[in-house]
Symmetry: C2
């Protein structure tokens, strides 16, 4: 298992799954009832979160945010709710459980949704499994990038990694905003809703940056069969200020910023840059393959590897 890595495991599992359903952030169910997006994530104590750096409300918030971000990654801005499976040892304090649910509820409430069901059971470690459902969407696709597109990001990257570093070092007061970005990230359903209101529901390229900006760029490039020329790397001002030596690496590989990385034809890209605050153009899509940054191919290294 450890030898295969997450991608290897997924490729071995794919033959047992319905064709075409595996590989994106979520599954699209299309039927007479319109399209439905479903996505699931499993978070494990000491793998994905730790009591040291993460209060219960933040564990819950981040778990909900990750799943809502998976909906946004596919162009779904209308969540229907979350199902929460919770496994934990009998010794788990009830206050921790309540904190977890407060965090999930509060993150959901940002988007008018909530927890609609779930399961609790005993487990030797704390495990939180979340499934998010949403209606509409499916028009943002990893394989939807085309030569000539502009690459647009919806916000800063690296802030979450920097916030985690401050928590590890016991210096959260140095830059509370970075800590907030780490503990209470905002999934970008608001951007999706804005794009829908601008009339953009034709297929475009993109995904969220939960596993890092570099990972998202490489995945879009690979799945779309295009090259991406990275022109500039916007660095979070607080990252530049507090972590100048790590700023570039964390911007590329930090992960868990939950922004969107979009590939759009220039007229649509210009509309987005004009109407959605915080968006920046960072590159262009070219023929070829791979992601080029400062003349060299960009690796996914530093991206979270789950095994």
């Amino acid at each position: 298992m450890a030898d295969l890595g997450e991608a290897g495991v997924l490729s071995r599992i794919a033959p047992y799954c319905l064709a075409g359903m595996i590989g994106d952030d979520g599954a699209v169910l299309s039927g007479s009832q319109g399209s439905l997006i479903v996505t699931t994530d499993v978070l494990v104590e000491n793998v994905h979160f730790s009591e040291q750096t993460t209060p219960a409300a933040s564990v819950g918030w981040r778990a909900a945010a990750a799943n809502l971000s998976d909906l946004a990654a596919m162009g779904c801005g209308d969540p229907l709710g979350l199902l929460v499976g919770l496994g934990m040892p009998g010794s788990t304090p009830m206050a921790w459980v309540e904190g977890l649910y407060v965090g999930m509820r509060d993150c959901c409430a940002l988007f008018g949704t909530g927890i609609i069901g779930g399961d609790v059971c005993r487990a030797p470690v704390r495990v939180v499994s979340i499934t998010a459902l949403g209606q509409g969407g499916g028009w943002i696709q990893r394989q939807g990038s085309r030569v000539g597109d502009w690459i647009v990001v919806t916000g800063w990257h690296g802030g979450s990694r920097a916030g985690l570093e401050l928590l590890w070092r016991g210096e959260p007061e140095l830059a509370p905003e970075l800590v907030r970005v780490h503990q209470y990230p905002r999934p970008r359903l608001d951007v999706v809703q804005k794009l829908v209101s601008l009339g953009m529901t034709g297929v475009i390229g993109g995904m969220d940056s939960s596993d890092g900006l570099a990972d998202a760029l490489v995945q879009i490039s690979e799945r779309s069969g295009v090259g991406i020329l990275l022109e500039q790397l916007p660095v979070h001002p607080l990252l530049a200020q507090h972590f100048p030596d790590q700023a570039e690496a964390w911007t590329l590989f930090g992960g868990e910023d939950f922004e969107l990385v979009l590939s759009l034809p220039p007229p649509q890209a210009i509309q987005v840059l004009e109407h959605v605050q915080g968006c920046q153009k960072i590159g262009e899509v070219v023929s070829g393959h791979g992601v080029i940054w400062q003349g060299s191919p960009l690796e996914r290294r530093g991206a979270f590897q789950h095994f």
Copy 2:
């Protein structure tokens, strides 16, 4: 946590969830698109399954069956697919993972559905989290039982518990059919489909018996505010033959048989008994409260307590 029990934990969590969504086997989402049923379960190694008694394909089959049974429990006979979250140590053999997915796929295939998405990650123990989605349903409800109804079960109870016992004792050859019932249970979506074809989609009482027949009867009684007079307890012939001393207890409290326990007005009950093979009337719904068996109130004791 251990002091509260599963029901206690759920009651503390309920305030953080959307009103009316918690307490049944799944959540019903009703909208312009018709109704959708979603349900989730978390299974943990050495809590819900063990490598000693359960080959990987059976772990997968049982996990899928439990979730499909939750759909059946709510009157949904039309599954849309399963999302599978899998956490496991790096040392997990790939053959185990593939066996798990074979089992899930094969159980789903019985009902023309399959795995549509998921997540894999590292965890200190094997954890399988499944979410099942289905369309239609919502008309079988725990609170739908009425005085005068007949209580009908769709098959034998206790067989799964007996099969497990044979595996523990290392004597599966004594009654392979009981072992099969334990390792490869059939969720009763077929019964739901049959009821729908008989035109029964008005609200009736009922749920599945995954936590035991006694548990289902007590829950229907409590949620509907009625009493249930248990008249007879059909005992699986192989249970009577191989485990005469435990037969009654396991029939009531064994669990994981995944049959349906239905509460129907007599005319509908008669139709079901005529048209659905294996169904039996076991009692009647009376005013009052609690489940009465041989003159005494029946407890849920023996039901699986997850903490």
